[in-house]
Amino acid sequence: MFKTFRPGGIHPSDNKLTAGSEIRGLPVPGQVSIPMNQHIGASPKILVEKGDLVKVGQLIAQEEGFISANIHSSVSGKVLKVDAVVDMSGYKRKAITIKVEGDEWLEEIDTSTELVKEISLERHEIVRKINESGIVGMGGATFPTHVKLMLPRGKKAEYLIVNGAECEPYLTSDHVLILEKAEQILTGTSIMMKALDVDKAIIGIENNKLDAIAHMSTQAEHYPGIQVQGLKVKYPQGGEKQLIQALINREVPSGGLPIDVGAVVFNVGTLLATYQAIQKNKPLFERVVTVTGKYLANPGNLMVRIGTPVSALIEACGGLPENTGKIISGGPMMGKALNSLEVPIIKGTSGITVLPDTESTRKEIHNCIRCSKCITVCPMGLEPYLLMPMGERELFERMEEEWTMDCIECGSCSYICPSNRPLLDYIRLGKVEINKIRRARKN
């Protein structure tokens, strides 16, 4: 029996072009720029200076503030500059640029491929180690993982939910991880179960990845308390709240967190990083990135060092096709169009999607015909057709009353709209403005 969430959801064609391809290692580039704002929360404190020599895995920026994360060097070499570099949005942000010299790893890192199943660390030690290793949510939200593990007082986790849904079209990085690193992910799951003191874990995988469900199920038999659950293909199944609803049929209250219904959700990539940090002493400095696109000569899943420019990935996949319209960081539904090819890969980059101009341009906007399709597909039960004109007229306080802050920005409404209305654009604007209003109210 395959499960799914209700209400809403859409079925975009999944275009998983790289589903069958193995993880390829991308050669270390000549130079990397490691941005300091790779996670949600405060920027960390920079520990290196121009001219310093660093090794792979060396701490180069220390977390500062409650929600923050450490950043480690992904290469060995000399720090060229600590300066502002253009990031995904086109604005300049602090980054450390390192010129690569050789590939010298820190000695503490265990580079053997042997699987270590035994968990020797205690609960608080696990949390500390995750904190030190700079692990953040690798599904794309990049929330620092150690903060998630510090449960609010009085709250108890019942379920650990593992997100292997990968509902975003085109992307296959989680899929290949399940196929190639199932045991590591399962060990990572056991570590997290120990850290959270839960005895039940459910891994949710969509049924367009039957090979992954089969492989994970066989492997999971050796791990007590871990269950694999197939899910019907539906976007946005990988949304945290949707996944909880699909797997344990509980609804996260408005403005609440998964822990309010006794669940904690991690992406498979985060669990692999956890395994590597705890068992192999390897901090987070590389990740799998799906580089895909219908017209790319050689799309694939690449193991990439954090800070590598996007251009290096596209070069490795056969160069930029002539008819390129947009290059998106992430998938086509929730990804963000890139401004420049020199933007570095960060901890949350799950894919680079190259879309042709014919598919990437928006169509002409027409009037709303009150078909209510946007209401039908909204997984949070909102009324996008109503929220958009409110955003246009700057009625942000009314938008707040209409639960705009519950929007998960999945884009299902904009996708389904037969009049091509930019629904999500205005809802997102509303969210920004409501946050400003809330901040003003607090002061």
Partner: protein
Amino acid sequence: MSPIVLYTIISLSATGIAAAIILFVIAQRFKVIEDPRLDLVEDALPGANCGGCGFAGCRNFAEACLRSDNLVKLFCPPGGNDTMAEVAAILDKEAVEKDPLVAVIRCSGSFAHREKVNNYDGAASCAIASSLYSGDTGCQYGCLGHGDCVRVCEFDAIHMNPETGLPVVTDDKCTACNACVVACPKDIIELRKKNKRDRKIFVSCINQDKGGIAKKSCSVACIGCGKCEKVCPHDAITIENFLAYIDPVKCKLCRKCVPECPTDAILEINFPPRKEKEAEIKPDKGAETAVEPIASDNTDAEPKSE
């Protein structure tokens, strides 16, 4: 007359009189005593409810005028000094004269001057575009051109020029109500002192990048070279973060800085034609020979610093 008609007339009249008495009593009891000057003040105001004064609307502003002891902190930008004098006369208070202001657009990056590096096809709103990314050209400070300022203007004083993709302010209509300044997510619009015959000189750029980077993204960007700062006889120009700023109060509109600017980032508007002025400037330069070598040194140093 049949008795039915009679009864009807009597009963209806009685009801009417009773209702009138009740209404009269209620009206007396809940009577709001209002200063008659409030209406007079409101009539004197432009009635645009633009919010430029910082209050919710014209009546709100009129109430504030009535309440406060003096009019020092109160000013109606659309009405200007005339309106405030009128209000002061009605209330028998002293009004403070303020220099009239006008909105200027501090970006000259038209399509011809700024190359597009990507295509934005989302919702046509500057607020949305700027929350997503830095803009469709290489300059992260420049005008996005979706016209949020045009939409908020209550006075029809600002329009988009389709040829340049930049907004244009009609000085006569602009009341300096500040609505466009607030609406612009890039903080490009500034209220500056209105001079005689609407003349103005200002740095039409807010790019804070280093000269080379700024020039690369836009051919009319301020590169912060400092030539204008040196030539200004009134100390009106300051350079901060590779960006020149002309203080509207100190500036005497001598126009010496304009020809100095290597990127034409300083604009002069509503001045008589340049020809005669250039003739004036040249002898000036010739006279001040000491200035000359410094200026040429600068031109030499310029490419190196970029």
